[in-house]
Amino acid sequence: MKKMILPVALGAAFAATSLSAASAGTLEDVQERGKLRCAVSTGLAGFSYTDENGKWQGFDVDYCRAVAAAVLGDADAVEFSPTTGKTRFTALASGEVDILSRNTTWTFSRDADLKFTFLGVSYYDGQGFMVKKSLGVASAKELDGATVCIQTGTTTELNLSDYFTAEGMSYEPLSIETNTEGRANYLADACDVYTTDASGLAASRATFENADDHIVLPEIISKEPLGPLVRHGDDQWADIGRWVLNALKIAEEKGITAANADEMAANSKDPEVLRLLGASGEMGASVGLGNDFALVAIKAVGNYGEVFERHLGTQTKVNLARGLNAMWTEGGLQYAPPFR
């Protein structure tokens, strides 16, 4: 991680000097271009993938589409830049993309040192371990001396070393670049343990030919709040991104879906719903958007729950329960500030 921060920070310093000269505001840039440039992952089951027509799909991708819908009125006005764990921050810092929605963990140093603004938490994740049943391990505390497949340049790498140090155990890391590589190495017995975010483990396990031969250990060793982020220094743009995410969550809370959004805007008695959908008040104008920005976004991708169920939910192969990502009203952590 250390070796990664330095070039990024250097880059950010360069960027800061050049940005200060011409800072027209990201919103104007995007509107002028007519396209939102959004960095996503190069491929992570459920979060970002391409369909047979070459169109990007997924949980992270749909957030970009929602922002594009809110800002430009067109959910397809997005240019997706696939980024790896190494290139994502430089792509954002250098201004190559407007927003980064790539299952990125919100940490202090990324927020403060790399000079990014996190827009909220779109998915609460945690790091887990997957092992083969034949290994006969039932708890992560029995993994002393194991070979671990670990993605480089990610927080999982640091969590792993923290956890093993704290437990007084040793391990042998096998560095990998992508999820695909990790899975292949794990299946080929190059490592005993595969560790990444629990969502990723579940997604990987679902694809194995004999999924029952593998178990995800009960220990979750870290907090991984994943969310979209933007560069420091453009608060209006950050507000737009933050409130598009919040709007999707409030929509779920209030029972607004892609299908009934128009009808709710016309007939709802709930003042917050009316404010959110632009039927009353002048909320959109304060972030430089149309009054119906949330309505357009919700109509484009659906509410938070719809996006979740479409790409990650129990009906999909990734098969994740809502868990921590349920609304606060249903015992989860997803809680959006009021829209007023």
């Binding site: 070039p7 880059g11 360069f14 960027a15 050049s18 940005l19 000269a21 011409a22 992952s41 190069t42 491929g43 992570l44 089951a45 459920g46 979060f47 970002s48 993938y49 391409t50 369909d51 047979e52 027509n53 070459g54 990007w56 799909q57 997924g58 240019e79 997706f80 830049s81 696939p82 980024t83 790896t84 190494k86 290139t87 430089t90 792509a91 250098s94 201004g95 190559e96 670049e177 992508t178 999820n179 695909t180 899975r183 292949a184 997604a203 990987s204 679902a206 694809t207 194995f208 030919e209 999909t316 192969k317 990734v318």
Partner: protein, 372 residues
């Protein structure tokens, strides 16, 4: 003609006896080539064993048990026990060829690809009539291809983020190959030049580029250039990568060609001088034709290496064929399929690399004018 009167004298030649059994036909060939010594016999038996224990399995997997019509890996697995699931290739082959290029505009890269061969004809075939004029026409190819692929000037523009697959490999590989050769020649000549400044500049450039891994140069292309260029100047990422790959290949090319220059007997240089030829005349008429001929295997080696090195761009998030594996795998329907995708990509690369290597062998044979 006198009659032969002696009954015991043959009147005609006796028919030739067939060669001893076991020295002709299949048996003879096998004896000669496969079982000529104990060591050869053992090696033959081992090879036969390896071939028989692997080939039928691979053949069954790839052809007999394979599935072409399915909508997901699960459907494939339900249809076959252990066969290849080519259905994913069937569904996605156009992505592996063109990336995310708009489907209705596929004719543009295809036309560019066809024109590439038209442009190559004068370069590769020296017996062509009016070759000089044709070569000049070929020089315009890069601009035509650029226009066709990226659009503009009347064609619908296509952004670089849409480029991918084999199309991206070809863009990077072909431009790297065609620009690195002339740059490499210039660098090689500079490095063997007597002018101290020219020489040291060439040495510095070559040694710097060769001392740095290609990955580093790609990161520079992706990251650092963005900071150095003023904001708003959106220098296309694919062009940046092409430039870096070209510089990288040129440095290697220069050393390969310098090897050819060094291999020429000094007498050739002296003879050129004795004829009163200027430096450029002697290079063009005497030195380079010979030096380049000697260097052909090395040059083609560099070309093939460069073509395969283009896959490294996946590290900076460009969607070359290998880069496309990840988003394909992330699709829930195909998650967990590896071998078929990699086999398909390997097959595509093999076609191009094999063609280059055959052409170089043809060229070597054709230019083989003695000295042996």
């Amino acid at each position: 003609m006198s009659e032969n009167t002696f009954a015991y004298v043959a009147t005609s030649e006796k028919p030739q006896l067939p060669p001893p059994q076991g020295t002709t036909g299949a048996v003879g060939w096998a004896r000669e080539n496969l079982f000529s010594s104990p060591l050869n016999t053992i090696l033959t038996l081992i090879s036969v064993f390896v071939v028989f224990s692997t080939v039928p399995g691979i053949f069954n997997w790839a052809f007999v048990n394979s599935v072409w019509n399915a909508n997901s890996l699960d459907e494939c697995r339900a249809l076959t026990e252990n066969g290849a699931c080519w259905a994913v290739i069937r569904e996605r082959y156009h992505q592996f060829l063109f990336g995310f290029y708009p489907t209705e505009l596929y004719w543009r890269p295809i036309l560019a690809f066809v024109l590439l061969f038209v442009a190559l004809v004068p370069a590769l075939w020296d017996g062509m009539p009016k070759r000089g004029a044709a070569l000049m026409a070929s020089m315009t190819y890069p601009f035509v291809a650029f226009w066709l692929i990226w659009g503009g000037f009347g064609l619908e523009p296509v952004s670089s983020t849409k480029l991918g697959g084999l199309l991206l490999t070809m863009i990077i590989g072909v431009s790297g190959i065609s620009f690195s050769l002339p740059i490499g020649i210039v660098l090689a000549l500079s490095r063997s030049s007597n002018l101290p400044i020219v020489k040291s500049l060439a040495v510095i450039f070559i040694e710097f580029i060769r001392g740095v891994p290609l990955i580093t140069l790609l990161f520079v292309a992706h990251v650092l250039l963005n900071y150095f260029l003023p904001k708003g100047v959106n220098f296309d990422i694919v062009l940046r990568v092409v430039i870096m790959v070209t510089l990288f290949a040129s440095a290697y090319m220069a050393e390969v060609i310098r090897g050819g220059l060094a291999a020429l007997p000094k007498g050739q240089y002296e003879a050129a001088d004795a004829l009163g030829l200027s430096y450029w005349q002697s290079m063009r008429l005497i030195i380079l034709p010979q030096a380049l001929k000697i260097s052909i295997p090395g040059i083609v080696n560099t070309f093939i290496g460069l073509f395969k090195d283009t896959t490294l761009v996946l590290i900076i998030g460009l969607m070359d064929p290998l880069g496309l594996v990840a988003p394909t795998l992330a699709d829930q329907r195909w998650n967990g399929i590896f071998v078929e995708l990699y086999a398909f990509i390997a097959f595509m690369f093999f076609i191009f690399c094999f063609a280059m290597s055959r052409y170089s062998m043809y060229l070597e044979r054709k230019l083989h004018t003695g000295h042996r």
